[in-house]
């Protein structure tokens, strides 16, 4: 099964992952930094997570398949 992780040390709150895939990435109230809300990615979610991974300016997102 695939999963996706956001490295909290690298994330700076650009929010582009949330714009690309809000059902996978949510933003913390206090600073807009991202966290993942799904344990496992469904096959339909994998391309969305990949999209967020490629689009992250800080390269903070990794999809693990």
């Amino acid at each position: 099964m695939a999963r996706v992780v956001v490295d909290p040390e690298l994330c700076q709150g650009h929010t582009l992952c949330n714009i690309a895939a809000p059902e996978i990435f949510q933003l913390r109230e206090e600073d807009g930094h991202a966290y993942v809300v799904v344990e496992q990615l469904t096959p339909e979610q994998v391309p969305l997570a990949r999209k967020a991974e490629l689009g992250c300016p800080e390269r903070a997102i990794t999809v693990e398949e």
Partner: protein
């Protein structure tokens, strides 16, 4: 020095040639070396490679933003190359953990959830600004539109009188467009210090008259049991005015100028929300309103394969890195549905633009409404005037246009200003944690 193998160039981001040929200098420099040494402004590294920028931006421990004009800590010159001003420019000229404390106070005002609360204000002022000119058939996109809404919004979020935006407007813009060798440079410094004095007066007033907004939040904040120092707060308010007034304005002007002849794209931006989202990122990448940031190397080190010495100055050119073909194919083309687009327009690392969420929201609403209500505008190139220097902010002084007149959609700007001021004044004052403490 000079015994190493550094690639030496003569690059000046404030020079007219940079403005006239942007983004071409990015390629000339990068082909010589993605991290080159410019002999200008007493010498600095200029970073034009996106990969190198990514590596360097993660090293806030080795690259300092500190500005210490009085030489009490390290004598570092802050984020402007050459050094600018004799005061520290708020938290962007600080390093963690000090910088993080200011951001911790301000983040709750600028998170995605928080900024959406301001959408009604953005909607109202956007509509009213267009109404002011819609019956005449001509406007200046900068003076009549792009200057106004972001500035009023910034006033509201700080807790300052909305109508005062006009007082700060010219100084805020002059501060960023005046080149270091301009005959107006001293005049700019004077104007800036008058603006800072005025802001300092308001910070003082807010100590006894708290209002909802970022100034009172800064005044109420405590770090290790101490209130933040006045100069840190005043510098930060000045920074938020600069960031709030000038950057979204510049992005709008760049986008509206580019869209001048592109009627197909204009129509699609009005109708297709997803297209507007990707286009916003592409305009950010291409124009990069805040062109980059200066740093000072804190110790001898090697990063991304380059060797630096303690005290070296460095210009992280977000703009030129955003035109690196290794990360952005056909970088000098504006491709409104570009993907992926991991641009560095808001900076990378711990100094990421704190207002990025607000900027995106404001820009999207304003661009869409301008295109919806003025669909056939044509820019007047003769009246168009770019900033003298785009080395700090890539913006416009004037961007006049003509169009087929239309109809008003609501009350006039002055009335909207009064209505919003009354609405904000009616909000209860926050607790004053400084009461009795000063």
């Amino acid at each position: 020095m000079a015994t190493d193998d550094r690639v030496v160039v003569e690059f000046d981001q404030h020079a007219p040639e940079y403005r006239e040929t942007y983004p071409a200098p990015a390629h000339e420099l990068r082909e010589q070396c993605p991290v080159a040494w410019s002999t200008r402004h007493e010498g600095f590294w200029v970073v034009t490679g996106h990969e190198e920028l990514s590596a360097l931006s993660k090293r806030a421990d080795l690259l300092s933003n500190d500005h210490d004009p009085e030489g009490v800590r390290n004598g570092y010159q802050g984020i402007s190359i050459p050094e600018r001003g004799t005061t520290r420019g708020g938290f962007i000229e600080m390093d963690p953990p000090e910088q993080s404390e200011y951001r911790r106070v301000l983040n709750p005002f600028l998170s995605p959830a928080a900024v959406v609360q301001w959408q009604p204000l953005i909607d109202d002022f956007t509509r009213a600004c267009i109404d002011e000119v819609i019956e005449t058939g001509h406007l200046d996109f900068v003076d009549d539109f792009a200057n106004v809404v972001p500035a009023v919004l910034t006033m509201a979020m700080l807790g300052l009188p909305l109508a005062d935006w006009e007082i700060y407007c010219e100084p805020a813009h002059m501060q960023v467009y005046t080149a270091p060798d301009s005959p107006n440079f001293d005049h700019m410094l004077e104007t800036t210090s008058r603006m800072v004095e005025r802001l300092a007066e308001y910070v003082e007033i807010r100590k006894t008259e708290p209002r909802p907004g970022m100034i009172t939040a800064l005044l109420n904040a405590k770090v290790m049991g101490e209130f933040l120092p006045d100069d840190g707060i005043i510098g930060t308010v000045t920074l938020l005015i600069g960031g709030g007034f000038d950057t979204t304005t510049s992005l709008l002007a760049g986008a509206l100028d580019w869209l001048d002849t592109r009627t197909e794209e204009r129509a699609r931006l009005v109708d297709d929300a997803d297209y507007l989202v990707s286009a916003t990122e592409e305009f950010l990448r291409y124009f990069t309103p805040a062109q980059g940031g200066g740093r000072t190397v804190t110790e001898d080190c090697e990063v991304a394969g380059f060797t630096f010495s303690a005290g070296d100055r460095m210009f992280l050119s977000y703009a030129m890195c955003n035109h690196d073909p290794a990360s952005f194919p056909d970088p000098d083309e504006i491709v409104l549905d570009r993907f992926p687009n991991p641009h560095a327009a808001f900076g990378l690392g711990v100094h990421r633009c704190i207002g990025s969420n607000l900027a995106r929201l404001d820009f999207k609403i304003m661009l869409r409404e301008a295109l919806r209500r003025i669909p056939d505008y044509r820019i007047d190139p003769a009246g168009t005037e770019r900033y003298e220097s785009i080395g700090t902010i890539n913006g416009y002084k004037h961007l006049p246009a003509t169009f087929t007149p239309g109809r008003r959609e609501g009350p006039p700007l002055a009335e909207v200003m009064e209505t919003w001021q009354a609405r904000l004044d009616a909000e209860p004052a926050p607790e004053n944690l400084r009461a009795g403490a000063v």
